[in-house]
Amino acid sequence: MKKTKLIIAAAATVIALGGGILWASDHADAPNVKGKSTDITDLYVFQAPNTNNLVFVGNVQGLLTPTATQTAAFDENTLIEFKIDNTGDNVEDLVIQCAYKDGKMYIYGPVKPTSTGLSSTVVGTASVVVPVTPYSASTPITATSANGITAFAGPRDDPFFFDLDQFHKITGGTATGFTNPGHDTFAGTNVMSVVVEVPKSLLNSTGKLGVWLQTKQNH
């Protein structure tokens, strides 16, 4: 029976992967980043309600309970960097760099990087600086630069949704499919989020971008 085959295959895969697939989005995806300030949960890039702008969302430090969120913080040792390819070669032509310092998020670019790849140098001076919104704030703190870049940094509800628990049951062989309705495993959890809205005119685009999000540390 095909269904059975599938489940067996999925279960076998779990075993092959070393006893546990955690299919979140990118939450806790790898040993070197799990539980650290470098752990990315998700990247979102979409057209703003003002269609002249594009919104870049970079989320890190997932699965935060409300209690954990009260003391969650960005890390001065960790750069959150959007990489933007204009030419289709999957090499970044522009970067937006987000560096945290003394309670504020400094946003650099979009600007041509001094080098491509895994090591990054903060380029120039910040386009916009925004105080990190505290957990207790009733409204988000935002800042906008003279050239129209708007920024936010702080805790937000994790926008990702998925019935991860049922998926685990399927891959573990104790269920044959999802349930209807499902249950959002990420309900009630938060992330640390950086949101940058950028005029498309600053992105040098000819119609299509390739975007990826990186984190990296100073020491």
Partner: protein, 200 residues
């Protein structure tokens, strides 16, 4: 709802042709590449000293383009390596491994998916983990018409992924595995910046 659109589409096999055209267009665009844009001009210079200017971050951490790629297709032994492999060489390093994984999920029975992609073509797209984003129109992971033109907060990326992995050529195979029946976030998003909901 994006999801409802998606689901209704999946039932309609006749839409396949349209979808194939779309994805081939996407692939074609990727392959062709683009004219290099004009050099970026710096906008303004802050007179005050900047605490981070010139700071070097040389220890790689995490890396993500599309949702779920590392967690679904990258084996345990490769997970750290995938995060430190730059996208321009990802395809060569990971396409074959992803294809093996895709077939493992399907008991070796994967043929093509709703986008008409063979195992090698589909994993070729997936292995280069970069999010394609349109700067000229609708941005969506998949809305029944556009494919991979961005990712909005409300896109049901899991159902899209499940359909493409398990749903077969029509998207209608293995219906018990092609939707998790969680089609929206647990809090409504904001209509205005910063769009994400306040924390719990």
């Amino acid at each position: 709802m994006v999801t409802n659109k998606t689901k209704s589409l999946i039932i309609k096999n006749k839409e396949d042709t349209i979808m194939k055209t779309k994805i081939y267009t996407i692939i074609g665009l990727c392959a062709i590449g683009f004219t290099l844009g004009a050099c970026h001009k710096d906008k303004k210079v802050n007179p005050s000293s900047d605490p981070n200017t010139g700071k070097i971050y040389s220890i790689p951490g995490d890396q993500v383009g599309r949702p779920g790629i590392a967690t679904v297709f990258v084996g345990a032994a490769d997970k750290d390596n995938f995060n430190t492999t730059i996208p321009s060489v990802m395809g060569a390093a990971y396409q074959s491994k992803f294809q093996t994984q895709l077939q493992a999920y399907n008991g070796g029975a994967y043929t093509t998916n709703l986008l008409g992609l063979s195992a090698s073509a589909f994993t070729g797209v997936l292995a280069t983990d970069v999010l394609g984003v349109s700067t000229t129109g609708v941005t969506t992971y998949y809305n029944g018409t556009q494919v991979l033109t961005g990712r909005t907060l409300s896109d049901d990326v899991i159902d899209v992924s499940l359909i493409l992995i398990f749903g077969g050529p029509t998207g209608g195979s293995n219906p018990q595995l092609t939707s998790d029946h969680v089609d929206h976030n647990d809090k409504p998003f904001l209509a205005t910046f910063p769009y994400e909901a306040s924390p719990w």
